[in-house]
Amino acid sequence: MIDYKKKLATLSLQTKSIFSGHPIAIAGLIGFVIFVLIALFAPWIAPQNPYDLMVLDIMDGLLPPLSKLGNGTTSWLGTDAVGRDILSAVMYGLRLSLFVAFVATTVGFLIGVFLGLLAAVKGGWVESVIMRAVDLKVSFPGILLALMMLAIFGTGVDKIIYALIIGVWASKARLTRSSALSEMQKEYIDAARISAIPNWRIMLKFLLPNSIAPVLVMVPMSLSGCIGAEATLSFLGVGVPITEPSLGLLIANGNDYLLSGKWWISLFPGVVLVSLVLCINVVADRIREHNNPFLKSMNMQ
């Protein structure tokens, strides 16, 4: 039915037209891929398992970068108060931060797209309930909603994912609905309706593939937003647990030592966090610019 080879070919052509001639966006994409690879392979490439309390030696605590540890290895980026190697902690922290953001973004998008399509197809009270809920959500800043959620359910990796999902879904539902509604004006949907094809089939077979493009453009933005939000919440002490530090929590841990001149504990996780978000954002900006027909026509003038 669907020619996947052809789809793939158009996709790679699209990617080319998005990125060619935009070195900053290409750099961002490469940077992002590197971060993802580090996160995926952290258990194999990190010098130490920072979650394993057995390998941590308190005697190695608070060593500056490039010092020798008790077991003879070199700690390239120094250690924190409990003797955790910062390089390893950053790799694992990156892993956790990216995991949380990926899950939250994916689930948030699935929920948002589904509700958006449902609202468009069903109309009536289903649509008003969904759209009122969207209004409710988008009228509050995400960080406050997340704080509210975490105050209600307590903290933990799963809780923070729920809190982030709450932040993601609404704007996607709104966009999917408006995109699907304009698609529904077209004749082939009328034809499908007359042929008595059930609503769910129209939703999945016709509306979904044809109205998803503008929503997908928001994925990178959402991802970087989730990473930043998780880091902020963890920094505030209402995010991930202390035993499995994400980048935000690593920065919070080091924050207590900054004033006594031990800069490396916070600095490296912070630099990684900022570079990661920056990489995603330059890609996101480029994709958005590419998909904005207005800006495109302008550049041609």
């Binding site: 409710l136 009228s139 800043p141 930043g228 880091a231 935000g248 900054l258 302008m298 003038q301």
Partner: protein
Amino acid sequence: MIRYILKRLWHSGILAIVMSLIVFFGLYVVGDPVEMLSDDEFTEQDKIDLAIELGLDKPLFEQYFTYAGGMLQGDFGTSFVHNRPVLELILERLPATIEISLLAMIIGLSIGIPLGIFSGIKNNSRASKIISFFTTVGYSTPNFWQAIILIMVFAVFLQWLPASGRGLTNSMFGIEWAWLSLNGLQHMALPAINLAIYKICMQQRLAKSGTQEILYQEYMTFARAKGISRNRIIRRHLLRNILIPIVTITGLEVGGLIAFSTVTETIFSWPGIGKLLLDSIHMIDRPVVVAYLILITMMFVFINFVVDVMYAFLDPRIRHQK
């Protein structure tokens, strides 16, 4: 117009009630205040007495109506930790949050919009690219990380500005303000800049994309063809038209600023309501958390209402919509 306002008012009322229900029942499942307040010497009977005194023995809905009734009379309950009326605690700290948010807003608008218009008009110039690069870095950097950098550079390394507290406050209209003294202003500087950086970046991006969209409209070409001076085109034709999205976002961002002030206030130990919220979450001080969230929610409902009305005022197409 009046009809539009009434409709929005009706929506806002429903929104306020739904949100207060969510907050109240959501927070109800957190912690057990009796356990919090009692110590080892409490007997079972003491605990039951305490629960009755706090009204926790009544059905949930009755508790909500008691709470909502008290709220309408300005009674938000008593803080478990501070043992003082919650409203008093919040009102006492509100000026600190307001002054810091307003200062950040003023800095953000007065720098962000001109930068945005400039980089919109001179889209391909080097200066515009540099500005856009910095604002991308700025909004990619989490608020708390900016705060840490600011503290490291200006408080620890250069030792120009204080990193925590509110400094001296002076009284005006019976309220204590920090901005009335030099010492207070110095204490305000870092937290305000911290909040403002994000605002500057957002405003720059908004104003830039707004400018670019309008720059190539036919009426702009026509205005140029008529020989109207550049400054006049910018003031009369450009600024007015990019104002609509800016007004909306700025309105919504007032709330965003107050939300983000939780982060900034916590890092700079700025004694505002944001720090109060976070401290209360950590200490499970339920009355404060519930009251803060409900008040903030009401504020948001109100802001959204005002933004909607202003939007309709600026753009006639909206108020004539069915």
